[in-house]
């Protein structure tokens, strides 16, 4: 167990180094760092839990596919429709396919996918591992020398890291389809000229950045859910808290990462 208490039986309460609360923040940060570091220590060491990784990938995709299809499609329609008036002012509605392609690839698809996955997948990982902690299933793996971290955490983090980028590409595609439906109804654009406009607008850097970004989003969702669940406190309440904290924390981190990636990609583009 990670939080050990080494003070003797009747010692004075330890003096806080800074303040009690700040001390705790740094202790928690250290805890998180060790949890994440353990992933990189264990992910490359055999035996690999191949079957379980595939099962988890499937679960991630299966859980979020329906909602992502719907949301992606609607986002495509709505974003196109709402952008039209502004472009119409300049008589530039023919730019709609390019605009929507850039918006989807650079920002909308990765964000929509990651946010939906934190809600559906992140909360699930938090709740699942949390209830395994509470019912001592994780302890049971540990006492049978079966490395619960490897079986439960490494597999889930790998699954989200690999699957979320794929889902993001899928969301981009579905979103573009939504946009096409809207564009073809209003402007009677043909499919081939729509596709031409789309590929004319996006660059390799856009696609690359989108994949790399969602790679990090996926890692974040798996890691946060696993950390919250794995370290869940005892009792049913702990499970609920773990699920909830997984969603809130990973959404927060996803926005921070989005801001960072914006800075990095802009620098690359400028340079």
């Amino acid at each position: 167990m990670s939080k050990t208490n080494t003070k003797p039986d009747d010692a004075e309460p330890e003096k806080p180094v800074i303040t009690r609360r700040l001390d705790q923040v740094f202790l928690d940060l250290n805890d998180v760092a060790q949890f994440v570091a353990r992933f990189f220590r264990e992910v490359f060491v055999p035996p690999y839990e191949g079957k379980e990784i595939i099962r988890q990938c499937y679960a991630v995709g299966y859980k979020s596919l329906g909602l992502i299809s719907l949301t992606g499609f609607i986002t495509g329609i709505v974003f196109t429709n709402q952008s039209r008036p502004s472009l119409a002012e300049f008589g530039a509605t023919s730019w709609l396919p390019s605009l929507i392609a850039i918006a989807l690839v650079r920002a909308l698809a990765p964000l929509v996918t990651a946010l939906i996955a934190s809600g559906k997948v992140g909360s699930n990982i938090g709740a699942e591992l949390g209830s395994m902690r509470v019912t001592e299933q994780i302890d049971a793996m540990e006492v049978s020398a079966s490395n619960p971290y490897k079986f439960l955490v490494v597999t889930r983090v790998l699954a989200t890291t690999v699957t979320i980028p794929v889902l993001t590409m899928y969301t981009t595609f579905v979103g573009l389809m939504g946009a096409f439906v809207n564009v073809t109804m209003v402007e009677q654009t043909s499919f081939s000229s729509f596709i031409q406009a789309v590929f004319g607008a996006i660059t390799y850097l856009d696609i690359f950045a989108s994949v790399v970004k969602s790679f990090f989003f996926g890692f974040t969702i798996g890691m946060v859910g696993s950390y919250k669940g794995y370290n869940s406190s005892k009792g049913t309440e702990g499970v609920g808290k773990a699920a909830n904290a997984s969603v809130v924390t990973s959404m927060f981190l996803i926005f921070i990462e989005e801001l960072l990636s914006l800075q990095i990609v802009n620098a690359l583009r400028g340079g």
């Binding site: 001592e136 302890d139 049978s144 020398a145």
Partner: protein, 257 residues
């Protein structure tokens, strides 16, 4: 009661606990525990709820770290082992959890295979199957092999939990309240199972219980945890021949006078 067929080696302590202390915040749970478990022996640990019986065996299995004192299991100081060494030691320890702790997303078969395939390399499918069938037979639940834990009764879950630890042929068994919440007949089955395991595999065991019938049937020796220490140890009759109210209360409740 029939005489059990076993040999206890009183010179060979497989678990040695010295001045063990453990607190959670201001709650001093274990306050200087000394205890020896000898090879081939069933030791029953009694004590009120919340006295730290589960904490004690979790420290023995390395799930919790002690604040002070030493726990030596088969010559190894548990608290100071590296993760690899601790895992090696844990292969020799079977831990039956208070509420079974079966993996509820896996079938009974997958539960039993789980520790086996992760610790014994190069097993063929046939080896795995025969090992699973053997332990299931030992606990008398062969028919449950493809069921999910949620479909089992409390007593069946307990026995599957024990089977899952037996599959690695441990030398030490730690049972946390094996008969709690079970009817008398199932309890007797479990007590017999504990004795069978001891006789068949020559294991040394700690059996935590509130059930004095279980204590009497399985225990070669009884130790009672009172206020964070083992104040009374000995045979069943030695422990209960006292005027100490705390001890007598246990006896009176179990065997209605």
């Amino acid at each position: 009661m029939e005489e059990k067929n076993k040999t206890i080696d009183r010179d060979n302590a497989v678990i040695q606990i010295r001045d063990l202390k453990k607190s959670f915040g201001d709650l001093h749970v274990l306050r200087g525990v000394d205890l020896d478990i000898f090879k081939g022996e069933n030791l029953v640990v009694l004590g009120r709820s919340g006295t730290g019986k589960s904490v004690l065996i979790k420290i023995i299995a390395g799930l919790l770290k002690p604040d002070a004192g030493t726990v030596t299991v088969m010559g190894e100081d548990v608290a100071n082992l590296k993760p690899k060494e601790l895992d090696k030691l844990r292969l020799k320890i079977g831990f039956s959890f208070q509420n079974s702790a079966l993996y509820d997303s896996m079938t009974v078969r997958e539960n039993l295979e789980f520790p086996l395939v992760r610790n014994v390399r190069d097993l063929s499918r046939a080896d795995i199957d025969s090992a699973v069938e053997e332990v299931l037979e030992n606990v008398g639940l062969s028919q449950t092999i493809n069921q999910m834990p949620s479909e089992l009764s409390g007593g069946q879950r307990k026995r599957i939990g024990i089977a899952r630890t037996l599959i690695l042929k441990p030398e030490i068994m730690l049972y946390d309240e094996p008969t709690a919440g079970l009817d008398p007949i199932t309890s007797i089955d479990i007590n017999n199972l504990i004795n069978e395991v001891q006789e068949r595999n020559h294991t040394s065991s700690i059996i935590i219980t509130h059930d004095l019938t279980c204590a009497k049937m399985t225990g070669d020796r009884v130790a009672m945890l009172l206020d964070g220490r083992f104040e009374r140890q000995g045979t069943f009759d030695e422990v209960f021949s006292t005027d100490d109210e705390r001890v007598k209360a246990f006896y009176d409740y179990n065997f209605i006078q």
